[in-house]
């Protein structure tokens, strides 16, 4: 290594002589960091998304590499958030890639003391059985004066407010057709 390149390898020298007098950018960069590439540069695709936490609705860009989320950043185009995310929005990648996420169906039988495994199809069919049975056992055709009721009060539902509009729409539509009235949401709370 020549003296010149040795001196130029010294950040203070670069800071005093270069275009970065505050030493917050190029001047402070080490060889190690210079060799790095941002995950956002190497992504295979980017999805335009929205933060799932509060209702400000900050824009997110979700970067994907090899079918996995590699980074989530604020969307600078958003007139709402102008690229910013708060600690929660900024932790979204940790949320969706969390090792604690449960990715298989779990089943606890009545009086059971531990979880058991169950496959998804079986679970769906068992749930359909139970919905139909509960509905039949608690069905009310008419009130005491013979006016229609068309309902079951044997089934309840409480949804969070991170559900999509399309999801809420189908939830309400199916439950209403089923006669299940006790459908509630975080919006009540």
């Amino acid at each position: 290594m020549g003296v010149r390149s040795w001196i130029e390898g010294w950040p203070v020298y670069r800071q005093l002589t270069g275009t970065d007098p505050l030493g917050r950018g190029a001047a402070a960069k080490s060889d190690g960091s210079r060799a790095l590439t941002a995950r956002t540069d190497t992504a295979d695709s980017v999805a335009r998304s929205v933060c799932p936490y509060c209702a400000v609705g900050c824009g997110q860009r979700v970067f994907v590499k090899d079918g996995q989320v590699s980074q989530i950043e604020g969307d600078p185009d958003s007139p709402i958030s102008r690229g910013r995310l708060c600690p929660k929005g900024a932790a979204s990648k940790s949320l969706v890639t969390s090792p604690l996420r449960q990715t298989t169906v779990r089943y606890r039988r009545p009086y059971g003391t531990e979880w058991e495994d169950l496959d998804l199809d079986t679970a769906m069919n068992m749930i359909a059985d139970r919905v139909l049975a509960a509905r039949d056992e608690t069905w009310e055709d008419v009130d005491a004066e013979g006016r229609p009721l068309n309902r079951t009060l044997g089934i309840s539902s409480l949804g969070g407010a991170t559900l999509d509009n399309e999801e809420n729409y189908l939830i309400k539509k199916l439950f209403t057709a089923m006669g299940a009235l006790q459908i509630e949401n975080q919006a009540r709370i």
Binding site: G112, K173, I189
Partner: protein, 865 residues
């Protein structure tokens, strides 16, 4: 706002940089307070007293924006002679019915209006949270109104308002809220000085206002001030509800709520809505003015969207399939019914009531008494594992081998693993693209419900039972795609938007909907989101390339309008109030409304238009009536109907309060929803004895680093690291009084529970001088529970269940408690401690404070006048 909506708060800072003055009112000094120009500490649960003080200040000094107030509000409207105010009735309005603790609203009506316009009795309205229906339109009023535009008539709304708030003096504000008078004057002056043609002020609130037994009236009080100061429908004005979840606005618009259907149509009631005509008329109120006159169209389009080809004019579009309400079927009623064994199955869809709902123990005991429970979530939240890890295991109230609830945990897809729209806090829909496939068995709710419906319909395919027709005739054929057979969210959005049945052409506006079955539309207020067959919610034109209004980013309901009632941003003649506040105006040359936003008015109705005397529907709205969804076209300073606890807000103490209401003999909201159930024990409050057993006020809110019940934050390592522990903030004075040490332990006790927390001694909390005594408040985050990376006792366990009568939201922003040093006892000793407190506070279990306290023995005159 800086704590819970941090990125939104950047705009407050932007405004401050440009000269706006920022006031922050909160029981606790927060990051928002630190950045505000002025901070007002307040006793939790007393905001109406503070805001009422501001109203009095405005009216006494005639500081209202008079031109706006006369033209655009109902200030000049005259009210019937039968009306009697809280001034004369110890805190009750006329029409109070002792038998069921509700009001007959007839005496509140406008002069000359008939009594029959209160179409449902108030008790039914309370049971069915009917106030929620007014989110998209005003409560019904019909016919012409009598007005005195000099505002001198003793029974005009302006004068009634003045009398009603006369006792909300600065001294009274200080006595009730603990806010020193100089602080009060600073706020009142700044707010009123910032009003008029050139200036507007904005009011921002969150669940600190809604989660009260008088919550709706808190917001009404704010709205009255904003109307008096001309701050509604104008840029930089408004009453801004900061909602707390990504699509909680959407969850109300396309509701999964028991009493509503999409677009704020009411769920049918067995007695009031036996037929389609009765249902529609109860919404449209034939003869009423305003846009809601088209209710039949909205209703028929929804029924067509639900039942497709099966829905015809001959069968009233399958209206007969609809289930009917008979009363309160809300989430708290459900939980009590679970405890009583009346409910068999429960779905939890991304929701964690074991931590997030009031009275956590009731929630968990309810879940432990079901036949089956389906939990759909990203993580194994507390509501999925209550049967083995709940605090009730330790107390012996739940034993796994005795708990019969069958639990299905189904993993959910995250927000990047599915596509769809969220509606954020300003009614703006934003489409999310899908980034990756969900892992393993994880699926969207769209998938779950589509396939559950498919399976159920297959099971019933040969059924001949009449009850199964509604399922079999359901329009349920959504296109699917991909390896998981995911239904198309875009197809669902198109149905929500609506389309022409014959051609399939998506509707551009709800004005294109027909009431003859030739169009379909799942949620009329969202019509336009799929206009021209384009997903308008997916629009992403960069903000930097657009005006400040940014109309091409996403899509806002209704009709992509960003500020509601924006006709009010122009004066009665249609000209901007000022150049500075120009927004929407009448272009006389082109004879149309124009501006930076989509005008919230019929495009070609001139400002000079005056309706015929008996005109109804949209034709009944004059060219200078900006509030087009209200029956009289005016902003309501006084609500002649529709608000169940009174036409004007009144300060009532929280259901649990350490002080006697200094304003009236009536202590708490007399019309609040009360649940008498053995598990729902309440702490006594004055005028009852023993309230001193629970001498402190507690309130809860969010930390920046956590989200609600913690299911999406205590499970995420960076967030868990940032806020790892449950704590309670106490003032140095209270720490001395109760022997608490910083970073030591304390436990808090109510008639429901005792929970423990680490102690944070801080002057962010100030002891307040209230009614000549010192009131200590403590603050807790409500995010903690027993699962996740970081755990702690749940603050919501402390609350009982008392609800606002209009919308059935629980009072979970204020309660009373005792605070003791050290950790709480465990097991049976924990139960014994709570039982002992109940015994000491009157041995009343369960306990219900009286609804009406106007004749209580200890109360003298309300106030020396």
């Amino acid at each position: 706002m800086a704590e819970a909506h941090p990125v939104g708060f950047q705009w407050v800072m932007e405004a401050k940089r440009r000269g706006a003055k920022v006031f922050h009112v909160d029981p606790r000094f927060t990051r928002t307070s630190a950045l505000a120009d002025s901070y007002l500490p307040i006793r939790a649960g007393t905001d109406i007293a503070l805001l009422g003080g501001v109203i009095r200040y405005i009216l006494d000094n005639e500081l209202d924006f008079r031109e706006y107030v006369v033209a655009y509000t109902n200030a000049a409207t005259i009210v019937t002679e039968e009306y009697a105010d809280t001034e004369d009735m110890h805190g009750l309005f006329s029409g109070f019915n002792d038998d069921n603790a509700t009001y007959d609203q007839a005496s509140w009506r406008y002069e000359g209006h008939s009594q029959t316009q209160t179409t449902r009795d108030s008790e039914t309205q309370r049971e069915t949270a009917a106030g929620l229906e007014n989110e998209s339109h005003g409560a019904p009023v019909g016919g012409q109104t009598e007005r005195d535009e000099t505002l001198q008539h003793p029974r005009c709304v302006y004068q009634i308002l003045k009398r009603h708030f006369a006792r909300y003096t600065p001294e009274m504000v200080e006595r009730v809220c603990g806010i020193p008078q100089d602080k009060f004057f600073e706020l009142a002056r700044a707010w009123t000085e910032n009003s008029g043609r050139d200036r507007t002020g904005m009011l921002v609130y969150s669940v600190g206002w809604t989660q009260h037994s008088v919550g709706v009236q808190y917001i009404r009080t704010g709205a009255i001030i904003q109307l008096l100061l001309g701050n509604v429908g104008r840029p930089g004005g408004g009453v801004m509800a900061l909602r707390g979840h990504a699509s909680i606005q959407g969850s109300t618009d396309i509701p999964t709520l028991f009493n509503l259907l999409p677009g704020y149509l009411p769920m049918p009631h067995h007695a009031n809505h036996p037929t389609l005509d009765k249902w529609v008329d109860s919404i449209a109120h034939p003869g009423q003015k305003g846009f809601w006159g088209n209710a039949r169209t909205y209703g028929v389009n929804l029924l067509k969207a639900y039942w497709g080809d099966a829905a015809t004019a001959d069968n009233d579009y399958c209206y007969g399939y609809m289930p009917r309400m008979t009363g309160d079927h809300g989430t708290y009623q459900q939980v009590l019914d679970m405890i009583d064994g009346k409910i068999k199955g429960y779905f939890l869809l991304g929701q964690n009531p074991a931590v997030g709902s009031a009275h956590g123990r009731a929630q968990r005991l309810g879940m432990a008494n079901l036949d089956w429970l389906v939990v759909r979530d990203l993580f194994e939240i507390e509501s999925a594992t209550f049967w083995k890890n709940a605090p009730e295991i330790e107390t012996g109230e739940i034993a796994p081998e005795e708990c019969r609830t069958e639990v299905f945990f189904l993993p959910a897809a995250s927000h990047v693993e599915k596509e769809g729209t969220f509606t954020q806090t300003q009614r703006l829909l934003q489409w999310r693209e899908k980034a990756v496939e969900p892992p393993g068995d994880a699926r969207s709710e769209l998938w779950f419900f589509y396939h559950l419906g498919r399976i159920i319909r297959e099971r019933l395919a040969t059924s001949t039972k009449p009850r199964d027709r509604a399922l079999l005739d359901l329009a349920w054929d959504y296109p699917t795609h991909g390896p998981t057979v995911e239904p198309s969210a875009e197809a669902v959005l198109r149905e929500i938007n609506g389309y022409d049945v014959a051609t399939g052409r998506p509707l551009a506006s709800f004005t294109e909907m027909k009431d003859d079955g030739s169009t379909v539309g799942g949620c009329w207020i969202y019509t336009g989101v799929y206009a021209d067959g384009v997903n308008q919610a997916a629009r992403r034109k960069p903000g930097s390339e657009q005006s400040l209004v940014a109309p091409e980013w996403g899509w806002a309901w209704p009709a992509n309008r960003r500020i509601l009632y924006n006709r009010a941003s122009a004066d009665p003649d249609g000209n901007p109030w000022s150049e500075r506040k120009r927004y929407v105006w009448w272009d006389a040359d082109k004879s149309e409304w124009t501006g930076y936003d989509v005008p919230d008015f019929e495009k070609t109705k001139p400002p000079s238009y005056r309706p015929e005397r008996d005109a109804s529907g949209v034709a009944g709205i004059a060219g200078d009536d900006p509030f087009i969804l209200q029956g009289d076209g005016k902003g309501w300073l006084y609500a002649p109907t529709g608000v169940l606890d009174g036409p004007m807000p009144t300060h009532y103490e929280p259901v649990e309060s350490p002080v006697r209401n200094p304003l009236y003999e009536q202590q708490a909201n007399p019309t609040r929803k009360v649940y008498t159930h053995p598990i729902n024990t309440l702490n006594p409050s004055p005028p009852e004895p023993y309230s001193q057993v629970f001498p402190y006020v507690f309130t809860v809110s969010r930390l920046t680093e956590h989200h609600t019940a913690g299911g999406m934050s205590r499970t995420v390592s960076p967030l868990a690291e940032l806020q790892p522990e449950m704590f309670v903030e106490v003032s140095p004075e209270l720490a001395v009084e109760r022997g608490l040490t910083h970073l030591g332990w304390a436990h808090l006790i109510t008639a429901r529970a005792a929970i423990e927390a680490k102690v944070l001694v801080t002057d962010r909390l100030t002891p307040l001088r209230v009614d000549d005594r010192i009131i200590h408040q403590v603050w807790l985050p409500y995010h903690f529970g027993f699962e996740g990376l970081v755990t702690g006792d749940s603050a919501n366990d402390l609350f009982g269940i008392s609800l606002d009568p209009n919308v059935l939201i629980q009072e979970s922003k204020v309660g009373t408690c005792d605070v003791r040093s050290g950790r709480r006892p465990r097991g049976a000793e924990l139960l014994a401690l709570v039982v002992d407190y109940r015994r000491r506070s009157g041995d009343l279990s369960p306990h219900y404070p009286p609804q009406v306290t106007t004749d209580s023995a200890d109360s003298g005159p309300d106030q020396e006048v």
